[in-house]
Symmetry: C2
Subunit: 257 residues, 2 copies
């Protein structure tokens, strides 16, 4: 690959993940088995869904008893009250509740981690059994650390890991992928203080590199979860060990909640 190019490589033949699986080992093993040559500084991008499944963040709605409050919210947004119960258990604050005639309702909340997500990131698609849903990992940064450490140990390469989720956005149609867990990469790249090509100070350019990498990898992650692992080569990123939380805007600086 020529210098300065970026390459995104999907890891094919990734096995179905089941609750309790050792995901870091499976990731290292599959990269090796597929003959993908890792280099230091590559970024390994992992879909949240397989992390959640391996970490047993799966709930069968059959076992959920909704409270009266969950039932009332469920009625408002036209969702299964048991699903709403699971969503609200992940929720710090309800940001918007909405029932439109033309579609199903929307329930947009702030999770305990501070992410603002529809349904608190609870996902009803592609979990074994029609009544099962996945929750976000309890600590996606820690999950990313484990994958990074396993790859260092098993494959001998110092890489970065990003765990992604697929989210909606205000103002724009369509979903994009963002970084909800990071290890070995600083998700924000602060260019303030640098000068532009004419010598003028660049104003307030802090790029969300973690989210841009997530979106790039998302182009190869089909939503059928058959391609949950992408290797990204050639990005000149800043290293960091503080996880993904700097991507989350503090409530007091946010004009839209």
């Amino acid at each position: 690959m020529p210098a300065n190019n970026i390459q995104l490589i999907p890891v094919n033949s990734f096995p179905e993940i089941n609750p309790g699986d050792n995901l870091p080992l499976i990731i290292s093993g599959t990269i090796k088995k597929e003959g993908i040559e890792l280099s230091n500084n590559d970024i390994v991008v992992v879909a949240q869904k397989i992390v959640s499944k391996a970490e047993k963040r799966v709930v069968n709605l059959k076992n959920v008893k909704p409270t009266a409050f969950s039932k009332s919210v469920a009625k408002e947004v036209a969702k299964d009250p048991r699903l709403v119960e699971v969503i609200l258990a992940e929720t710090k604050k309800i940001i918007r509740m909405d029932m439109r005639k033309e579609g199903h309702g929307r329930l947009i909340v702030e999770t305990r981690d501070g992410l603002i997500l529809a349904n608190a990131g609870v996902d009803t698609s592609n979990v074994s059994g029609g009544d099962s849903v996945t929750l976000l990992p309890l600590d996606s940064d820690k999950s990313a650390d484990k994958i990074r450490n396993s790859i260092l140990k098993k494959l001998g390469k110092k890489i970065a890991v990003i765990i992604t989720d697929t989210v909606g956005r205000p103002w724009r149609e369509g979903l994009v992928d963002i970084a909800i867990g990071c290890s070995g990469i600083a998700p924000l790249d602060d260019k303030r203080g640098q000068k532009d090509s004419r010598g003028f100070l660049l104003n307030a350019t802090v790029m969300a590199t973690g989210d841009q990498v997530a979106s790039a990898a998302g182009l190869l992650m089909d939503k059928n979860s058959q391609t949950p692992l992408i290797i990204v080569k050639g990005i000149n990123y800043k290293k960091g060990n503080k996880g993904s939380k700097s991507l989350i805007r503090e409530s007091k600086n946010d004009l839209f909640r």
Copy 2:
């Protein structure tokens, strides 16, 4: 490049663009001169800044006389009243005005095109002369069409074009790149009705492919405008000739304005 991989190639040695330049010709010429082999279905990603400059969407603030209203808004958000005058001329609706003690003010508006952007996309960095600013192209989809047609004519390849801008977002820190102009690609990829790997219907998965491609290319576009042109290979995108506007959520469906 192996099948299914994505490759992003920055076009180096891109010349400085001046008002009135024939940008489509310069793009075709530079791709050829740099020896980059284009293939059918590649995506050519172009930074808004050079499109604006070529299309003379540059205003020297020295020639701007702010109205009383612009002066009052400028005071509220601590900006140059002449800059606010230029921003408001691009504005359909003010979405948020904010002055925080810890930073400079924020002026977030809906542009005539329906985009929601800080400062209506008016950019104060990297324009010849310290008092010059760029405005967004008048019709970015049309600008993308012209580049696409020029490449077909000059290089004989059927490609797609995306024009990008760098934007802030609610809830998340850091800027990302989005698609503000498209030609030859459908920016939304609607997967509703498809089934997941277990046979369950995927719910409401419409991916914002145009924005994800913009973000991917943004990883190589340094903000000094030295790399405003990126070639993207290997994306299996849906073709389309309706431009970028389907990425913009209609006001009546938006919970956050």
